[in-house]
Symmetry: D3
Subunit: 72 residues, 6 copies
């Protein structure tokens, strides 16, 4: 019975990317722990940039300064 909650900033994640995340996470639990996918729930919650604080700043402010969450 895994339940996985994903929170990430709302920055244009597409429906297809969400599906890939759901499939990928579910498969990890099947492959590593032999969990029944019918008992695995994955919930995605997108958070507005004003509502996610990092290092004491709103992400919206960080983005205005050119600071992203992208892999370097």
């Amino acid at each position: 019975m895994p339940y996985i909650k994903v929170e990430l900033t709302r920055e244009g994640v597409t429906r297809e990317q969400k599906q890939q995340l759901i499939k990928g996470i579910t498969d990890l639990f099947t492959n590593i722990l032999n969990k029944d996918p019918h008992l695995t729930h994955v919930v995605i919650q997108e958070i507005e940039l004003d509502d996610w604080g990092y290092a004491g700043e709103q992400s919206s402010v960080l983005r205005e300064r050119g600071i992203t969450a992208d892999k370097k």
Copy 2:
């Protein structure tokens, strides 16, 4: 001090049904554990069908196939 978080797919739950859930859950904690309702908070979060994954699929895709969360 109970806090109860409810997450469910956004599929037309009405204001009255939410009130029934809030009242019903609060009463359970009073009846079973003698909890003061003034210390009991219930938070409901509706999740878009694209954002709830089950068995590796988005609920929106499952619904298109006629697979619902209804009691059989």
Copy 3:
């Protein structure tokens, strides 16, 4: 697909009371929203009294002062 997370202070809730909460909450979702119990997960998390703050105080301190979460 409801998922319900219960957080409450660790103050001697018994296994039987947990079962009553799980059954009662699951039944509410079946009765009010016609949800399939096989898609309803209820997770209970007990929190130490030092770790639950209310009105700016640890519950352990409130309990020492005779302030409980019991229904009056």
Copy 4:
């Protein structure tokens, strides 16, 4: 590595107030626990008044009766 999730009723919190909450909470973890702000994430989630139950009632109903969450 602190992660802090704030849930509060949606009642006109401004962008500036959110920034003050994020800065204030992050500073607490630096000042009290010496945590690196670059490892501290604060996520704010506003909850509709219909979706927050207190004492068995929706906050929207409590507000109609003049019962607020304001400090007396």
Copy 5:
């Protein structure tokens, strides 16, 4: 800035399996969304079998009846 919370029943997950889950989930966010792993946090919470309810029953009761969460 993804934050991922994993809840699963406490049934002998090893340290190595936890590491595989953490690595696997983090890689998904890098591969699908190009997220910086230094902004990706994964938190695992194991739940006692008495505390996870499914279909209105405690998982501990289900396990006594031979009903597991294993993939068939």
Copy 6:
């Protein structure tokens, strides 16, 4: 009605530090948003180092390498 959930690695936080966090966070909500402290709940959850993943690694592994969450 704010509810604040704090998750942090279990690394020797004392009872007094928890009390400072609870008082400090509650005061922020009173000072910034005029929230009644009697409607403000703060829940602290300490997470084992094996269970908190950062940058794809368990914090326990990062600590063995001398990588901490301390402010530089």
